[in-house]
């Protein structure tokens, strides 16, 4: 009896895991191939740019990222899979890009990094790329619980003139077609992504803004607590899925 129960349990947990699907698999085969081949993936240009910046001093007196963190292949491995994380100094959740901005301001003293600017996207891409292939593993600390709950609450709230929540499309109608496009499940597995529509790399927050503008809502600001909360919820929702950075998306 117990063996049957275990078998059933194993069955069910596999079924649940299989229901989640990266947006990678919703793309046509050529776009999937582009992501999988580093020599064809345009997102790798941002990763390489970030690698150069990693060793670069933002001003002659400053330290480079590498001066403190050393070889990113080991020091940054797994980091992006754990972000957003709780920042004890701010007493709030912080996203990976926010942490890089903070490091630049407080420890390197260089010019501030702008959200969606080339330098920040390159550094974020490079750092996140060090986690490629690792399972998304959000921290279980108490500090992140409030952010996740806030993120989930926004996720299920209808927004904008079109009065749609994230959940209505990306949970209830994922796999359906909005005009010609398959609605993905909305897992943030590959950010920053190279989006074919943008013809450049952009952050999850830029992508979220796109959806908010699409439903005619007032978007949250870059780096806002709301966006970081949504990101924290989405990462929890994608727990265990593989980091793909730099992903390609339509």
């Amino acid at each position: 009896m117990r063996r049957i129960a275990f078998a059933l349990l194993a069955c069910c947990s596999v079924a649940v895991a299989e229901e989640r699907r990266s947006g990678l698999l919703d793309m046509r085969p050529e776009a999937q191939a582009m992501q999988r081949d580093d020599s064809m993936n345009p997102g790798m240009l941002w990763v390489l740019d970030g690698e150069a910046l990693w060793g670069h001093k933002p001003n002659p007196a400053a330290q480079s990222c590498a001066d403190c963190h050393g070889d990113a292949a080991s020091s940054m491995r797994g980091v992006a899979a754990r972000y957003p994380a709780f920042d004890a100094v701010q007493g709030a959740a912080i996203d990976l890009a926010g942490r890089i901005i903070q490091c630049r301001e407080t420890r390197q003293g260089g010019a501030p990094l702008a959200r969606e600017g080339q330098e920040l996207l390159a550094l974020t891409s490079f750092v996140a790329h060090q986690s490629r292939g690792l399972p998304i593993a959000p921290p279980n600390d108490a500090g992140m619980r409030a952010a996740r709950a806030q993120g989930q609450s926004i996720y299920i709230t209808r927004l904008g003139q079109l009065d749609l929540s994230c959940a209505q499309c990306h949970d209830d109608h994922a796999g359906g077609r909005l005009a010609g496009s398959v609605i993905p499940q909305g897992h943030p597995t590959g950010y920053p992504i190279y989006r074919l529509e943008w013809q450049r790399v952009g952050s999850l927050q830029r992508r979220l803004r796109g959806c908010m503008v699409g439903v005619r809502a007032e978007p949250f600001a870059y780096g806002s607590a709301e966006f970081i909360a949504i990101e924290a919820y989405l990462m929890e929702r994608a727990r265990g899925m593989e980091v793909e950075t730099p992903a390609i998306r339509p």
Binding site: T157, Q161, L162, D163, L164, R177, L178, A179, R216
Partner: protein, 125 residues
């Protein structure tokens, strides 16, 4: 204004124009109906499959029922993903460009209604 499940009176006091209505339905910035619905629009290649086809809409509903569903489908089905095309209250964080005005004006609602009421189900021979 709402009688049971219908809005019987025209919002403008007159009948809409079906040709203008058709253009609104197909316009991806105006009615954007084809993002979710398919319909008899052979010239429009990218149509959604999230909602029933518009074909035959004029046979499924009478004019008053369809007017209500265009104005605010959530009056009939609170879980609907269809936007309320003629309601401004009860919305969250509406963008500055869109605040305090409905998606479609009263005249536009009547135009779309006139077009949809003309989409009759084909009768078996």
């Amino acid at each position: 204004m709402v009688a049971s499940d219908a809005v019987v009176q025209s919002l403008t006091g007159s009948a809409g124009d079906p040709a203008r209505g058709r253009a609104i339905v197909a316009d991806r910035q105006k009615g954007f109906c084809l993002l979710c619905h398919s319909g008899p629009f052979p010239e429009e290649p990218l149509q959604g499959n999230l909602a029933p086809s518009l074909a035959g809409a004029g046979s499924r509903w009478n004019e008053g029922q369809l007017r209500l569903r265009l104005m605010d489908n959530k009056r009939v089905n609170p879980e609907s993903i269809m936007p309320a095309y003629h309601r401004i209250e009860g919305l969250n964080r509406v963008g500055a460009n869109w605040r305090d005005r409905p998606i479609l004006s009263a005249a536009e609602i009547e135009d779309v209604l006139a077009f949809l009421m003309g989409l009759k189900a084909e009768r078996a021979p």
